[in-house]
Amino acid sequence: MPAGHASDPQELSADTPAKMHDAEAAAGRSGSDAPAGGGPIVETKDLRKCFGKNEILKGIDFEVLPGEVVSVIGASGSGKSTFLRCINLLEWPTSGQVLYHGQNVLEAGYDVNRYRIHLGMVFQQFNLFNNLNVLQNCVIGQVRAAGVSKAEAKDRAVEYLSKVGMEPYVEAKPRQLSGGQKQRVAIARALSMQPEALLFDEPTSALDPEMVGEVLSVIGELAESGLTMVIVTHEMAFARDVSDRVVFVDDGVIAEQGPPAELFENPQLPRTREFLTRFHAG
């Protein structure tokens, strides 16, 4: 696994060995022939998704490498959220492949729940478990899905909650928190699973403007720590700052992608230019 995970010893370094261990174990379990350290964590090939007669994704080839931070941008309805949800199979792709370390997770009999443990997800609407308090939110998945002992799960949860500045709120129920606080807990919940990569589905779109900053700064810190992330976002300035690569999705396909400097300063396609201009104007 990549050295990138340990780039910043102050941030999130504690989970790196465990994460690497997890990833190797997962690769072994799934019988992957991916060489350790090399190759993308997740890859999609000709990914298509139809809702009824409506084809939302029209063949997406994509990969995310260990340690990489990828932002996915595009107009509303372009399919970028559907694409993200297809990666961890919250939407089942109509055709194509989703490969996890080279193993097609769409195959019959593949342990989808196991696979999802290795991919954290942060939702636009937070989706914290309403019946559980902040601490339990970060513990339950570890215990019920990953089989971590309760004591260890609690330690991990507190560790990640303090990283996002939510440790004092362990006893609070989700309804007692602000949007920004909820989203930071949701990030801690995802991190507590010690995933190989984290998926963000418009993490700041449901937040009041004054709360966007606190969430973006947490995500920014994670990016610096070397965590692998795929971020669907409308925050262009943020995407430019944190990403290694920006992917522009248009009408169900990846229209253009590249390093943020190139894509934002010198887009190749008229469609990309139009989108970025409209965005700056809006």
Partner: protein, 280 residues
């Protein structure tokens, strides 16, 4: 009760002599209180057991009916079995919601004996009937309760890798139980009253005891007034207790901030250690 009987009863009620209405009621209470107490006990046992078992049946059916059945979530055999199970559950619900409990009591009590030679005592037969009857209603109530849980909750549970059963147990059903509590209280109150139909098989619940006492004492009106009053006390107390339970399940309005040396001051709200709840 016909008009003249009512008129007579009112006259008795108004009379303030030794044979006054309240004296009669008091005499009945004094003489037959062990019978009445037994009736209350049996009625509450039937209603409570029926409701609790019914909730269990309802939640189990709710969890079974929400098992994903799409093409990618299992083999053909699994899907066929699930479809079959769902059909059987639908039949159970329709049959037990669509026939009177009085008829169900007769069919179960006498039917089990004639068809299978299973001879239940009347209390056990009553418990069985009221439980499966309530279960059918609860299944539908639970279905609504599950639908009322935000789909995002299930998605978040899936996203951390939880199985259907883990998701149901830890996330969806606890929220469902809160959602269905008012309707469940309703079922409980209905059960307290409607278990009176079990007297057709001779279960010694409150109405059956009343009927017996009336038959012995010939004091029909005071006995049934007394029975009605007892039913009212039972149902009223029950609704109050359930309301308290609802409030308890909602949890405290406030929470305490854990103190920690790693907490930046900026995160703590000014002016105190506790934050008021935001929801209401």
């Amino acid at each position: 009760m016909n008009t003249s009987a009512v008129a007579g009863a009112v006259a008795v009620l108004a009379a303030d002599g030794d044979d006054g209405f309240f004296i009669q009621v008091w005499d009945i209470l004094r003489e037959y209180w062990p019978w009445l107490l037994k009736g209350v006990g049996v009625t509450m046992l039937l209603a409570l057991t029926g409701t609790i078992v019914g909730i269990g049946i309802g939640l189990a059916i709710g969890a079974i009916r929400t098992i994903p059945r799409d093409a990618h979530s299992g083999g053909l055999f699994r899907r066929i079995v699930l479809t079959l199970v769902n059909a059987l559950l639908a039949i159970y619900i329709e049959v037990f919601r669509g026939t009177p409990m009085m008829v169900q009591a007769m069919v179960v009590y006498f039917g089990l004996d004639m068809a299978f030679g299973i001879s239940l005592n009347v209390l056990h037969a009553g418990l069985l009937v009221v439980s499966i009857n309530t279960g059918a209603y609860m299944a539908e109530i639970v279905r609504g309760g599950i639908q009322a849980v935000d789909p995002g909750q299930t998605e978040a549970a899936k996203a951390v890798g939880m199985s259907h059963w883990a998701t149901m147990r830890s996330v969806v059903l606890p929220q469902t139980i809160r959602n269905i509590l008012p309707a469940t209280g309703n079922e409980f109150v209905i059960n307290i009253k409607d278990t009176s139909v079990l007297m057709v098989i001779g279960t010694a619940e409150l109405y059956f005891q009343g009927k017996t006492i009336a038959g012995i004492s010939y004091e029909t009106f005071p006995v049934y007034m007394l029975i009605a009053a007892i039913y009212l006390v039972l149902t009223f107390t029950t609704t109050r207790v359930l309301r308290l339970l609802e409030r308890k399940l909602d949890g405290p309005e406030n929470f305490t901030l854990a103190t920690s040396s790693t907490t930046p001051e900026s995160i703590l709200r000014p002016g105190g250690e506790t934050l008021a709840g935001r929801s209401r």
